[in-house]
Symmetry: C2
Subunit: 361 residues, 2 copies
């Protein structure tokens, strides 16, 4: 971090033409919105600031949750802060995300989520009825996901130093014996499966934020995925990778998996389930559905031999009814994700620098 | 919550003469600073909003951390958000508090803290060097406390919706067999012990916030207390209650214990270790040291027969060098804390409505 000049306060604008710039931290002495976007800037913040500061190998695993050994138990442990704006949107609220998001991060290591913590940072002046509504959404979501909110905290900051309600949840769960799910385990030959239509959460939030209507109401897909994961593991414990493509969407998740495992990913564009309403909205907004956040979807890498059976089990589950085989893991172009377009061409799906839609979760 | 009128947005001023008002939520349809103060308003928020919303008995335990059974392990689980202002102060920083505060919440159930999560909410425009400094303070504090930061998250909010850096940590640790420490276990006859001089953290933060000098620099007492707790448990596993008197100070912690256990607490004013500099600063600022936050102290309820041995073990530990017997738990005036003054009189130490010093941790 010697290159950081504490006295420098100018912020350089992010150049969209430069989205693969390898080390923006060096040119950006201040935090920009993209540092919270789950893309390259977020990865650099972890790599250049947090990992060296904490100096430990667990964090470097870069999974959605850490898997720890404690008291004889295999424990999954994860946290996320939720700052979505607006607080309420079609299909859910910050409260739903705060539960489902952390439940899903635990589930992506194969864990059965058990307990959550909930810490609120409230802005002075926010209506207590709003806090109550968020808390009730959390309680209902926790019940639906089969987890208990076991501990919490509340801080209040002055008006103008928050945005109504921020919630940070952490969660713990148990990882069954014999299950070893992490991005490093992707290998050539794996089938790449997505659990349902993509892009709904991002478009739902964007539509209400911008006051847009697209003919039909598009609702967030926010949902807990641990049951679906359990159904998949019942078919085979040898699921290699699971990821919930939230910030940065499917594109960011697949890039992280490709980089962590040193494999390539090849997608078939026609196989990717993009609802027509999402495609239309993305066209209007200038967004790529591959980078739009989901809050109730997972992407799975499973051995090709198990793919059909896993797909069948997924489609029998409400959260996996729209599951689809969208591509494969390959030995070529390690660390890179490409998509074969409908016209027979191929394009690279790069890791986004930041998030197309800030504060999406 | 039927009495909440969502359309009402006026906030009634808090009347300091009315600090024991039993139900301020009913008169306050909006969040006020005191809701984050760890006093009566915080307790009401938990009782009236969060506990009904989450609908579970674990939360109602009201300990500094929840003790859970998971995979055969007795797990302590806790979270806190840290919004202290300024970020850096004599003796520490937000980073130190974010580690030590959660480590100490775990230790107050007798647990050996093991792993932390760290979630940042960054304000757009904050210097990366500041984030780096906070993260390094967290890394150093984690190493000192013997815990690992295992997982994390970063979100960024627009300028004007944060205050540089907010950090939420959660932690897990193991509670040894035979240890059962919780506020409900206080009983008449227990000795009440404090681990060292009180009021240092609050006065340290206040002095730099207000640009005040009191002749000598007063440094925060922020420190990890799990080792001290282990030394106490080595004397006797039958420690009844532990609490780190942070927000709301010793006064709030003792009131919570008295109420949870249905006992009374009687303190000897002369026995309470208040450093001269703290007393002078509190006199100048109009504060009561009993309500000023500490970040490296604990208060313990132990059987009187064990008190001398526990005190001896505490004084042999760096974090307990200034340990003192300050009072006793009594059957009289259940739920109430009184202090015998030096002049032979007695005064009630009530639960504060909010916090004398907002954003102290």
């Amino acid at each position: 971090m010697a290159e950081l000049a504490p006295e420098a306060t100018e912020t350089a604008p992010v150049d969209p033409a430069n989205w693969t710039c390898p080390a923006p931290l060096r040119d950006q002495p201040v935090v920009v919105m993209g540092h919270g976007g789950g893309g390259a800037l977020s990865a650099e913040l972890i790599h250049d600031v947090f990992a060296p500061a904490y100096g430990n190998p667990v964090l470097a695993g870069m999974g959605d949750s850490a898997v720890l050994h404690l008291g004889g138990a295999r424990l999954a442990f994860s946290t996320d802060s939720y700052v979505v704006r607006p607080l309420f949107f079609p299909g859910g609220s910050l409260g739903d995300l705060a539960v489902n998001g952390t439940v899903n991060d635990l589930a992506m290591s194969g864990a059965r989520p058990a307990y959550l913590s909930a810490a609120f940072v409230l802005e002075e002046g926010v209506e207590l009825a709003v806090v109550d509504r968020i808390a009730r959404a959390m309680g209902a979501a926790a019940e639906a996901a089969g987890v208990t909110v076991a501990t919490g905290d509340t801080k209040v900051v002055e008006a103008g130093h928050g945005d109504g309600v921020y919630v940070t949840t952490a969660g713990v769960g148990l990882v069954p014996e014999g299950v070893d799910i992490r991005p490093q385990r992707a290998r050539p030959g794996d089938a790449v499966i997505v659990s349902g239509p993509i892009g709904l959460h991002g478009v739902a939030v964007m539509s209400v934020r911008e006051g847009l209507e697209f003919g039909v109401e598009i609702a967030s897909d926010t949902a807990p995925l641990a049951d679906l994961v359990a159904a998949m593991l019942a078919v085979t414990p040898d699921v290699h990778v699971l990821r919930d493509p939230t910030r940065g969407g499917l594109g960011a998740s697949l890039n992280e998996i490709a980089r962590a495992s040193g494999t390539g990913v090849r997608l078939q564009e026609r196989a990717i389930p993009v609802p027509e309403a999402v495609a239309n909205a993305c066209g209007f907004l200038g967004l790529d559905p591959l980078y739009v956040a989901n809050e109730g979807r997972l992407v799975a890498f499973v051995p090709l031999t198990e793919a059909e059976a896993v797909l069948e089990a997924m489609r029998a589950h409400p959260q996996g009814a729209g599951a689809a085989l969208i591509g494969e893991c390959v030995a070529e172009h390690p660390g890179m994700v490409v998509v074969s377009t409908g016209l027979g061409g191929t394009r690279v799906v790069d890791l986004p620098l930041g998030e197309q839609l800030p504060r999406i979760c």
